[in-house]
């Protein structure tokens, strides 16, 4: 890669109490690249994204966005950096005091000071892209199904056309057809709009569709990363077990027999 990476993480550490969640993460994401992070439930994938966004404070290591160090950044400068980001939360995290379209248009109205009418039109377009009709825009988030909430969250994340977009399990809870639509939408955002994407998914089919590169997180470290084409050919036993979803292998799930 000749251009400097959009996101560059070195030795990132984060623990909660005695529990080490991230234990020295090294990861680069190039401009316009789409990286998918895979890994078992509870390995710290969501925590990693929140550390990059500054929602959680890293205990150590370095995170550079466009070459600028963001660990320990003051809040005013952090706000400036955050304008580059869009984020789909795992739980969607819709504002329940606002209607659906106001949720989608929030970043445009509050962040970019766009007029409400104009922002609403963009919101409706974005909702259409995730397969939701204009009327849905008038509902409140409490009136939506889980999958619909997820899609509204996705529409909100891409509405401001950010430079970097994070998708935390974008297709979990969606039917296979809608999953495919969302995968294609993510690819479109990244390829056509030139954004840089980092996605978390448990669905290997959508990982193959979305990713240029896949990174696997296990016990606080990136234990494998490489182009999508390599994932099926790789001999790494952890990756092999995860990709084929086998209960037996080097990854021990914390369940009592």
């Amino acid at each position: 890669m000749s251009a400097p990476p959009k996101i560059s993480i070195r030795g990132l550490k984060k623990h909660f109490g005695l529990k080490k969640v991230l234990d020295g993460i090294d990861l680069d994401v190039g401009v316009g690249e789409s990286v998918v992070i895979i890994g078992g439930s509870g390995t710290g994938k969501s925590v990693l994204l929140k550390c990059i966004l500054g929602l959680l404070e890293a205990d150590g290591g370095s995170i550079k966005i466009d070459g600028q160090e963001v660990v320990g950044l003051r809040s005013a400068e952090r706000e400036k950096i955050n304008r580059k980001f869009g984020m789909l939360f795992q739980s969607a995290a819709l504002f329940d005091s606002l209607s659906v379209w106001e949720n989608v248009a929030f970043g445009l109205i509050q962040g970019q000071k766009m007029a409400r009418k104009e922002a609403k039109e963009i919101a409706v377009t974005n909702l259409a892209q995730v397969g939701l009709a204009r009327e849905v825009g008038e509902l409140s988030p409490a009136e939506l199904s889980g999958g619909m909430r997820k899609r509204v969250g996705l529409a909100r994340a891409i509405a401001t056309t950010p430079e970097i977009i994070f998708f935390d399990e974008p297709t979990t809870g969606l039917d296979p057809i809608m999953s495919d639509v969302i995968d294609k939408l993510i690819v479109k955002c990244v390829r056509e709009l030139g954004a840089t994407g980092v996605s978390i998914t448990h669905d290997m089919k959508s990982a193959r569709q979305i990713a240029n590169r896949i990174a696997m997180l296990h016990e606080g470290k990136i234990i494998w990363q490489g182009p999508v084409s390599d994932i099926d050919r790789d001999t790494n036993p952890y990756v092999d077990q995860f990709v084929h979803g086998r209960a037996d292998g080097p990854i021990q799930m914390q369940v009592r027999k």
Binding site: K50, L53, G54, L55, S75, E79, N82, R83, F85, G86, M87, F89, S91, A93, L94, F95, D96, S97, F106, G107, Q110, G111, R156, T160
Partner: protein
């Protein structure tokens, strides 16, 4: 572990930690009250919630407080034939003390709880995180409007509480204790000074600020799902109520000294 000095020391350190965190939270929140952008629509909604929708509760409690005050002070003053002072005692007690404190405690229960629950739910469902990623500062968007509304609306509520409280005293004085209406009113206003009302309104402003501050602080820092939000709600109401009584004494003392 069992050394009592160590336990006291630990509690004291914990207390200092909490005070420090609240002070920092207050500093950041207040600084956002003075810096644009402001959110007039949000401030308006909070004002409506705190000011207008608290009117029935505050009015009702003020009415009965004024009424019982007239009865009780009559009982006391009748023992040394000073019944004429009832009207004056009612108006001074209500404006200086009971109006602000009763309105404050009532609003603490109503508004402090709902603020902590709303902001706490936003915290545990990651909505506050989402605000940040949408380049909106949660202090500015959530906390500042509530502080401004609390600070401005409580004095207005207390003006209403003062009027209704005095009216309650008047009803009992005239219809039960047999005072002459005109004489009662004259007694009410003859000895009332500007500082009586003013000190009460200063208290009200402080209480309104404290209620919003506690609601926001506990909501903002809640963790651990529905249970955590429940705990935040309780803490908000209890801490606001205690602070109201402490500040009530402190402010009274200041006005007492500058009499």
């Amino acid at each position: 572990m069992t050394n009592p000095l160590a336990i006291i020391g630990r509690i004291f350190l914990h207390f200092l930690g909490v005070v420090g965190r609240i002070a920092m939270f207050t500093g950041v929140s207040v600084s956002h009250c003075f810096r644009p952008p402001w959110f007039p629509a949000l401030i308006g909604r909070q004002m409506l919630d705190i000011g207008y929708f608290s009117l029935p509760v505050v009015g009702l409690t003020a009415l009965f407080t004024g009424m019982v005050l007239a009865l009780q002070s009559y009982t006391g003053f009748a023992r040394f034939s000073a019944e004429g002072a009832v009207a004056t005692v009612v108006v001074l007690s209500v404006t200086r003390e009971l109006g602000p404190v009763i309105a404050g405690l009532m609003v603490a229960g109503r508004i402090g709880a709902s603020m902590a629950a709303e902001i706490g739910t936003m915290r545990v469902t990651e909505q506050i995180d989402a605000l940040t990623t949408l380049s909106t500062n949660p202090y500015k968007y959530l906390v500042a409007p509530r502080l401004i509304a609390g600070l401005t609306m409580l004095p207005l509520l207390v003006v209403v509480a003062d009027i209704i409280g005095v009216f309650g005293g008047y009803i009992v004085g005239v219809y039960k204790l047999g005072f002459n209406p005109a004489a009662y009113l004259k007694r009410t206003f003859d000895y009332l000074e500007f500082m009586d009302v003013f000190s009460g309104l200063v208290k009200a402003g402080a209480f309104g600020f404290l209620i919003s501050l506690m609601g926001c602080y506990h909501g903002y820092n809640s963790e651990g799902g529905a249970q955590g939000v429940g705990r935040a709600t309780t803490n908000a109401v209890v801490s606001a109520s205690i602070l109201i009584l402490i500040f009530n004494y402190a402010i009274t003392e200041i006005f007492f000294a500058t009499r």
